[in-house]
Amino acid sequence: MSISFEEFIQKYDIDNFTKILELKGQEKVKFYNEFIEIIKSISRIFDKLTNIASIRGGQVLMSLAKLEKSETVINKTDIKRSLNIDRLEKLLHAFDYLEENNYINIEKKTSKFHVIKLNEKDNPDFTLFREIIQKFWISPEEEEARVNKWRDQK
């Protein structure tokens, strides 16, 4: 079962502040179970991210999840740019590891142009992961843009 944060919010109208959230009996049990599932899924995400044995593996996954919100085709250079990494070589180990673990799918269009996707089909926790990252995570590229914007302000 893949749990979706967005679906959970919508299902119980949690973001509707004009309506009282009232749950009784079986509905409350179901709500509780689903909430616990989200927490468990987050815990597994923490566990896996901290154990990706590549210095930048976790960052690549986060960057990919974030970019999937705005881009339909994502390549290695997009991720490099999003993470503010100067050379793509620094990320190769991470790509290899993530591909070996089936966390990402790499489609080699040409020898240099590789399209990368988060493998949500085989890793259902990635649905929640993608939603959280897209909603709350700020990529190094965005951070840099924010800092520069602040510096430019008079």
Binding site: M1, E37, R44, N51, A53, F95, E100, D122
Partner: protein, 319 residues
């Protein structure tokens, strides 16, 4: 004075600098191992070619010391079989050794790490023993034939013996070769029916500071169930998804389900425990068939939540 065995430097993957050095050590060791095995293969081939020439075209060795040896020594069945079977078996064996990417220090590293977890990592290469066992019987019978203690006449019994012995000779070579190709392995035996197989993976070329030098360990569980067992497929899929297990298809022709995990030396313990825990879950849930009450429903329809017991909910009750 007893020659002291060379100690292999310990591998360390804790930071980038040490990882780079460790990868260099692994690659150097692998290179040395490959050169050694290729050398053995060449020596074997040379012996076999020379032997073939001596028996087929002895005139080529007219002016060598070989001429002094009685030709009947070469052309008896025992010598011919020993040379043929040994060179063929060792040729395949050494090819397999060259193909397998392992090095002494990497093996020591995994042994140490698994010992820390309380498991015993073993190199189970039994094909050599099987070859020796089967061939010692063949050689004994061939010696009897060469000495004339077993004689063949034009009878049904002799014909049957020749046929049976020929089949045995063929099998005594094919079985060890088959064993070397498919059953010589690195293994951790977890329980009677549960084990994990190891396959090492790294690039052979010189390590580059900026390139990817991924040293990986592919872990494969024992056979779980046939792929056409719907209950097995459901339980396997649920466990693999929940534990983020690698779902890469190693072989399309393998009719059995296995769990796969990929680790690097740095996260070996964690990934190893993950696949072992997946096996414990498999034993509990496949054995009880608790997730399989709807296994008769076509698989494409089973993904709907209403059709089977909620896995996570089920697990949460037991945690």
């Amino acid at each position: 004075m007893k020659k002291q065995k060379k100690a292999f430097p310990g591998l360390n993957f804790e930071n980038e600098e040490n990882s780079f050095k460790s990868i260099e050590v692994i690659q150097k060791e692998f290179f040395r191992k490959t050169v050694k095995t290729v050398l053995y293969i060449l020596i074997l081939l040379a012996i076999y070619i020379i032997y073939s020439l001596i028996t087929i075209r002895p005139e080529l060795f007219e002016n060598t010391f070989i001429r002094l040896i009685n030709h009947s020594y070469f052309s008896n069945l025992t010598i011919e079989w020993i040379l043929f079977s040994t060179t063929t078996f060792l040729f395949v064996y050494f090819l397999k050794i060259t193909y397998l990417k392992y090095t002494p220090s990497l093996i020591s590293f995994i042994k140490y790490e698994s010992k820390n977890l309380g498991f015993d990592f073993k190199k189970e290469f039994n094909s050599g023993q099987i070859f020796l066992l089967l061939n010692s019987i063949s050689i004994s019978i061939l010696i009897y034939i060469d000495l004339g203690w077993i004689k063949f006449e034009d009878t049904l019994g002799s014909g049957f013996f020749i046929f049976t012995f020929s089949v045995y000779l063929t099998l005594s070579l094919i079985i060890p070769i088959f064993w070397a190709l498919f059953y010589d392995k690195f293994i951790i035996q977890l329980k009677d029916d549960f084990y994990i197989l190891f396959n090492f993976h790294f690039k052979i070329g010189k390590p580059k500071k900026d390139g990817s030098n991924l040293v990986g360990i592919r872990l494969t569980s024992n056979r779980l169930s046939p792929k056409n067992d719907k209950c097995g497929r459901i339980v396997h899929s649920k466990i693999a998804k929940r534990r983020w297990l690698s779902r890469r298809k190693i072989s399309k022709f393998n009719p059995y389900l296995h769990f796969y995990e990929f680790s690097t030396p740095l996260n070996f313990q964690k990934q190893f425990l993950n696949i072992v825990l997946a096996l414990t879950e498999w034993q509990n849930y496949y054995g009880s068939r608790i997730l399989c009450f709807d296994a008769r429903i076509p698989l494409n329809k089973i993904e709907s939540k209403d059709n089977f017991l909620d896995y996570f909910q089920f697990f949460s009750n037991f945690k």
